[in-house]
Symmetry: C4
Subunit: 123 residues, 4 copies
């Protein structure tokens, strides 16, 4: 059983610069949740696209076999941090099939709000 695809895209990306909740749990964040249901390590490379400059990346992650990983874009720092309050998109590539879901927790105002969608499979 092969679960997922090797290339995924998330057009919407935006890390709010402000939060009103106690962190890190309640800090505004944007995440890509990745399921590696295969029996091999997944080597994941994420590229970030901007409106007015060249893409940045790859950001590299390894996800063990039969494991999930909820990666917060907020925490990406190599090769560089992702700027706050700035629109971006992401492309996620893996050497084994994975499934990717996009989630944002927005805490710019007193109460939290959430958005999510399965990312778009490109291959």
């Amino acid at each position: 059983m092969t679960i997922g695809r090797r290339i995924w895209a998330i057009p919407e990306g935006y890390i709010p610069g402000q939060s009103h909740g106690p962190g890190p749990e309640m800090t505004s964040h944007e995440a890509c949740c990745i399921l590696n249901a295969s029996v091999k390590n997944a080597h994941v490379a994420i590229t970030i696209f901007f409106e007015d400059r060249d893409p940045v990346g790859p950001y590299r992650f390894e996800i063990g076999p039969r494991r999930t990983s909820h990666l917060r874009f907020n925490n990406f720092d190599d090769p560089e941090k992702i700027p706050r309050d700035t629109p971006y998109s992401s492309v996620i590539e893996s050497d084994v099939p994975i499934v990717v879901q996009h989630t944002r927790l927005d805490l710019r105002q007193a109460d939290n709000t959430l958005l999510t969608t399965i990312a778009f499979p490109c291959d």
Copy 2:
């Protein structure tokens, strides 16, 4: 007319440990809503994946012909409960075609917030 697929994945999973509303209706919960539009019973097996340990399951459910079932991950308890405040993913398998949608109602703060997406069809 065949409606749906036999294998679905939901990479994002997280059951908030806190609620502020009156329960059980307004308890923070995460659900997978399953439609069995076929004329046969659906035997559903759900496997839960974690970040740092082996998958748990299967959790087994039966959904009658031409019926829907809104399963709350909060209530899963056999083979074990799903821990709160812990990232997970799920894979849903069925012997007849079904359609799966993921929903979370988050009540960690004073007001509720919802997220939803159709799960990812894997077969």
Copy 3:
């Protein structure tokens, strides 16, 4: 150019029984938004599935060529109203290709919350 499919499914359905905003604009509601980008009338038949009884329908609608229609499940009344605070699923069938998106505005508490997803194309 053919846009869309003829059969769609929405596993998640739930009309909250309460609202706190001024209606009808701010009444809790659940909708399926349908785009008919074709040059023909779309004859749409919606069937509602429940957890513990046989499906109800079809609910019939006609959408003109190159028109959209945002149908509120709250307002369905023929052959019968959809009960509040009750889980359901829906299957949407059309004689011409359409695109379907599911949206809920939930006003059970002081502030509104929204969820949406493209429905699942079945054909």
Copy 4:
């Protein structure tokens, strides 16, 4: 590597007429986020469909190679502005493959709420 499709649809569209936050960042808005991961300019044409009149458009945009663009429907004004508090749908066409995601930030009440989904790929 080709990422995306050339024709996308978003059945749900609605620009709330009211906001309670400081603008323009916290103005209620509806956006389509477009990723052009290709090495060519994307020439994008968006058509808006209504419930009770003929479609309007195309609204034309150009997105550079390996760039993202978060287009706010609120700001569309050529050939005409999109009316507030009015249901609409949109079809997005491009001469190179793109990926499209739909987002709304709704600020009709004191706290914000978000919705998002990947648009529906039509080709």
